[in-house]
Amino acid sequence: MAEATSAPILTLRQIDKFFGDINAVERVSLEIQEGEFFTVVGPSGSGKTTLIRLLVGMDKPTNGDILLRGKRINDVPANRRPTCMVFQSLALFPHMTVGQNVEYPLKCRNRPKPERRERALACLKVAHLPESYYDRPVTQCSGGERQRVALARALAFDPEILFFDEPLSAIDFRLRKTLEKELKDIQRETGKTFVYITHSLEEAMVMSDRIAVMRNGRIAQIGTPREIYTSPNSRFVSEFMGEVNTLPVVVDDSGEVVCESLNLRLPLPASLPRDKRSGSLVIRPEDLRFARDGEGLIRGTVFNEYLLGSRVQYQIRVGATTLLVEQLRDTDTAMLRDQSVALTFTPTESMLFLE
């Protein structure tokens, strides 16, 4: 993992990008370390694709500076930058063979044919494609093979930073899981700086050293996957992580947090501001546990059960509210429909956001 000791390879200072009146990227500042797997994650329309286009050099920022190893590269066009990108559509050249595609960046540098071939074969190997694919037309490759060709082509470029614009989004689930892990392995083996863009925080969690969560053109939070998971700084980030229980709360005059829908009162943590009166309580399904009689904080009835492989998810009705609860499957607490249950959670595992 990249320690923040060395100078950053890429620095963004107060980047703005306007399209007409629309502020697609707003005052984004961040530093990416050499050899890091950095992921920008956000819902569609959050500005992440705009941001990567600025970083690759296909668009220019309206304001702010992009520095590569301390040198300002705002005005350097994409074909002069020592970085390259794997496109969402992969953007393979359909009239070329796999080999010609992979060799293209070397052809642009007028490298001799034997050297190009040697390097292309080496890159195909890194991307787990057999040498026999060298002469195959890309149009004859499957979806997963094309991913590998696109990756090999980008590796052949030997970029200082390799950018990825959601290349795995069109791939089926199982292959995607395989490729995610392979990508992380390749990043470790090559030691290159990878900057990855995705709308899936789950994907980001698997691969990244650090994650930046984007929302409405701004960065909502930057941190390691663990930091983002354990201490999200906003309701948006906490909800973006996946299915969570979000419940409205108010702070009463005595300084206690009241969650009416669960009939629950909690002390207001000292870290939160005293002046705000309402907000939300976010509890992850896996942080809710079934309690023994008399110990539960919340009482409800089992409404439905979903088997998620190694885990089981329950929908628990508490008055008019439905809570999601997730348990490991081997806990022999087989629940029946309409059974009354008591739930508990450790308040420190819950997240309270006041607005």
Partner: protein, 300 residues
């Protein structure tokens, strides 16, 4: 192909018959076109071929076949007209390639609204008959025409006639056939994926390399079809040489016309036509082979 096509309800086919054995509706639908093609295209073509083997000056398609018309064409100086027509066709196709490529790129990159505006402006002249447009250019370019007259009236410059020469003919051909190059070329360029361009640039390609390695090969089918259209049509160019050239040269189309009219020698006109059709056929054959090759290498 069409076996599975279900006839539309209300078609003049009895319902019961449809239920038992579905008639090949596609064939019925295509029948008018097939008849028109047979009677209107292949029929006359066959007649032309037949006449080209009839004795000189004969008006009947029935007679002892002979090659004397072809011998005449070789013996007399028809190669000059052939030469001019081929040269004009090649030259104008080359000029149109150079003119239309940047134009097509500009249209493609313009905003949709502006692209449509430019397209409409280019298409608009097609609504006026070709001969009238050419006469307009004659009036504009001739001695004391709109251009020369205006220059003389405003600045006192004497301008000689700009028509009655070969460049004027080439200009006319390029002017008339520009859309035939432009639109297939636009289609060709539209089939170049935008992100393939961006990816090439991102991988370090220069503008020139992008053009040579990505744009040209991917747009090749459209460009080739455009060139083919322009070449074949301008091979038969007639009015341009007649109006803008006023007889400085004679194209093969003019020879054919005069053989059928003044010359009253239908077999000779037919033989000349057959030769022109052969040249065009060879061009089409060569070009289509390239297009198929392109498809083989690229998308399938």
């Amino acid at each position: 192909m069409t076996e599975h096509t279900v006839p539309l309800t209300g078609a003049p086919v009895s319902r019961r018959a449809t239920a038992l054995t579905p008639p090949p509706a596609g064939v019925w639908c295509a029948l008018p076109m097939i008849l028109l093609f047979l009677l209107g295209f292949l029929g006359p073509l066959g007649m032309v071929v037949l006449y080209s083997f009839m004795p000189r000056g004969s008006f009947s398609p029935i007679g002892r076949p002979t090659l004397e018309n072809y011998v005449d064409i070789v013996a007399q100086n028809f190669h000059i007209s052939f030469g001019w027509s081929l040269w004009l066709a090649l030259l104008s196709t080359a000029i149109l390639l150079l003119v239309c490529y940047p134009l097509a790129l500009a249209i493609q990159r313009a905003s949709p609204g502006r692209g449509i505006l430019i397209t409409v402006l280019i298409v608009a002249p097609l609504f006026v008959a070709e001969n009238i447009r050419l006469q307009g250019w004659v009036l504009f370019l001739d001695k004391a025409g709109v251009l020369g007259g205006s220059l003389q009236a405003l600045f006192g410059w004497e301008l000689d006639s700009l028509v009655n020469n070969v460049p004027a003919i080439v200009f006319g051909i390029c002017y008339i056939y520009l859309p035939f190059m432009l639109f297939p070329m636009l289609l060709g360029l539209a089939s170049v994926p935008h992100d393939a361009r961006e990816a090439a640039l991102d991988l370090g390609a220069s503008r020139w390399r992008l053009f040579r390695d990505i744009e040209l090969p991917l747009a090749a089918p459209g460009i080739l079809i455009g060139s083919l259209l322009c070449f074949v049509i301008s091979l038969g160019a007639f009015s341009e040489a007649k109006f803008l050239g006023k007889g400085v040269i004679v194209t093969i189309a003019q020879d054919i016309e005069s053989a059928f009219t003044f010359g009253q020698n239908w077999p000779r006109g037919s033989a000349l036509s057959v030769l022109v059709i052969l040249i065009a056929g060879v061009a089409v054959f060569l070009a289509m082979r390239q297009v198929r090759l392109e498809n083989l290498l690229g998308r399938r």
